[in-house]
Amino acid sequence: MSTDLSQSDLGFSDPNPRRTTALWTRWQAVLIPIVSVVLALAVGGILIWLQGVNPFTAYKVLFTSALGTEAGLLRVMQKSTPLILTGLAVVVGLRAGLFNIGAQGQLVVGALGAAVAGYALHLPPVIHVIAAIAIGMVCGAIWSSIAGVLRAYRSVSEVITTIMLNAIALSLVDYLASKPLKEEGQPLSRTPEILDSARLPTFGVVPIGFVIAILVAIFFGWFLVRTTSGFRFNTVGLNANAARYAGIGVRGTIVLAMAVSGALAGMGGSIESLGVVGRFEPAFNAGLGFDGITIALLARANPMATIPAAILVGTLRAGANSLQFETGIQPEVVDVILALTLLFVAAPIVSRMIFRNRTKQRQLTSGWGV
């Protein structure tokens, strides 16, 4: 398998120099996601049209409500923040050959941890925020490490454990927020409000959390390509046996990659608690984890590319509600559009049909065993 590790783009197909030039391959890495999104929007448009609504009007409503107003822009950025981070969580896992489909669970555990730290600790302003985010990240990391340790030491597939841990996390936080950590004298099950010192502020229309997420994505763009740890992740992901032969501790790397992945998702939850919700409410964080998978594959496992991918998904999510309000189309149409995007981008549909690319498919995950 010839893959240039210094390249930050982990394309899905091995570039074949005899057929396609390097430049054309690079172009495809940008074009395939774009064509996939356009195709998905077209199919979504047909679904909208079948419901008796003009798809152009519907999309105009969706995009103007999300991008046309200040409130809309704020919402897009708020929605994109955890998406960038869960997308990164999936990317980091994929680099090490792990498919973390449990970002959802790690996110809610992190969101609860940060919210509790937000009202229970009494610290000076900036330090309080940092401490609360750190606690949320540790919670997410602990949650994903269950899957990481089982994978590394018992070869249990992380795909099954992370999805099971999602369901367990949802029940667990539901219990904690409705019994021991519940706000006194409230009918809703939610934790008390966080203290002002733990709040993540918004400058103008730009939430600080969004800036943090972008900085983290840039950091990982550097970390995965330029550091020894990043190199270890990539090597284990590409060939665990070769990594072992080269003296890399495969088990340790798997546990670390999974913990980092969970910490990123936990950070997404923390920012949600500290910057948007102001407390923890179990109902607030639904469905974010699967979007992380779509974003990671749309970004072709490139950390920096998760930023535009997450903003796109965030825009669709932010506009979905006004779509229902103004045209009566169910907001779940966005789920279909995102699922189709994932289908087009992950399956070699676009690259085969449109670009006539018949190069070998790259294996991103490492199946059942180490």
Binding site: V159, M164, Y175, L343, L364, G367, W368
Partner: protein, 324 residues
């Protein structure tokens, strides 16, 4: 592979059931009936996993295949007004979903885990978009009785009075066990999953065998989905399958990729769930609802942690076949 402990465990559990039957007959029967009903979709879905993985294809998309079939079966039955048509639509949908995985994982040689995940996410999106409230089944699924056998105490009411899907599931397990280890199809399937290059050399069409098996397995996932919406619940909700497709994969591993083994694992799983919900209902243990909800998921992880590494998957599972 000779292992004594599954038999010991089975013997202990059966003995316990008989003892309890003499203490409280009605309660024992009702717990066991609940357990079997809980186990049926897991049994069917585990068979899907076994067929696919024995042919060398990981099917992580069972969940999505079941979800789509449960959806199509329920709304098919509700709109056409016929349970039989609904069941056929459900099974057909499962087969189409199976063919989808086959195209992705076999023809296009995609990363199999990603191909399955795409199916799961697509099924979640489509079923929640097209979901509509206010639909009902035209009738309840009839229960059937096997004459004579159904009058055996304890065993009769649990195994021999059931809906058609439950009977189908139990029969399929036995048929698959025989087919997998006693027929030419089984030998070919296993060889394609263990050593596709050798199978290819001896004239077996690896790609075609895998494609057909994954597609036919999809029909079983359709049966599992249709069972859930038409026979077990009589309704459909968003996210209806609740992770059963993944639990089934754990059961497949626990059963060492063997139909009978997986049957045992699924029944054990159902029994644990049945006993837990009975204890909850009797208020024997004061556990919050959320913790009983966690039980199947925790149990899945624990089972996997115990058994992984001790059983061996088919050697070429997850690897697309490339001709040299």
């Amino acid at each position: 592979m000779k292992r004594w402990w599954p038999w010991a465990l089975t013997a202990i559990l059966v003995a316990l059931c008989i003892v309890y039957y003499f203490i409280d007959a009605t309660k024992t029967v009702s717990v066991l009936q609940f357990s079997l009903r809980y186990a049926i979709p897991l049994i069917l879905a585990a068979m899907v996993g076994i067929i696919c993985e024995r042919s060398g294809v990981i099917n992580i998309g069972i969940e999505g295949q079941m979800l789509m079939s449960a959806f199509a079966g329920f709304f098919g039955a509700s709109i056409t007004g016929s349970l039989v048509l609904g069941a056929l639509i459900g099974v057909g949908t499962g087969m189409i979903m199976g063919a989808m995985l086959a195209v992705g994982a076999v023809t296009w040689k995609m990363d199999q885990i990603i191909a399955g995940t795409v199916i799961n996410i697509l099924a979640t999106g489509l079923t929640s978009f097209f979901y509509a409230q206010g639909h009902m089944l035209p009738a309840n699924m009839p229960t059937m009785e096997v004459p004579l056998l159904s009058s055996i105490p304890l065993v009769g009411p649990v195994f021999f009075i059931n809906g058609p899907f439950a009977f189908a599931a139990l029969i399929i397990v036995v048929v698959l066990q025989v087919m997998l280890f006693r027929t030419i199809w089984g030998l070919r399937t296993r060889s394609v999953g263990e050593k596709p290059s050798a199978a290819d050399t001896s004239g077996i069409n690896v790609q075609r065998t895998r494609f057909l098996n994954v597609t036919v397995a999809g029909a079983l996932a359709g049966l599992a989905g249709a069972y859930l919406s038409l026979e077990a619940a009589g309704t459909f909700e968003r996210g209806f399958t609740a992770g059963r497709g993944f639990t089934a994969l754990a059961i497949m591993i626990f059963g060492a990729w063997n139909p009978i083994g997986a049957l045992g694992a699924a029944l054990f799983f159902g029994l644990a769930e049945g006993v837990a919900s009975q204890l909850q209902a009797d208020e024997v243990v004061a556990i919050p609802q959320q913790f009983t909800n966690m039980l199947p998921y925790v149990l899945t992880i624990v089972l996997l942690a115990i058994v992984s590494g001790r059983v061996k998957p088919p050697a070429s599972v997850g690897k697309p076949y490339e001709k040299d």
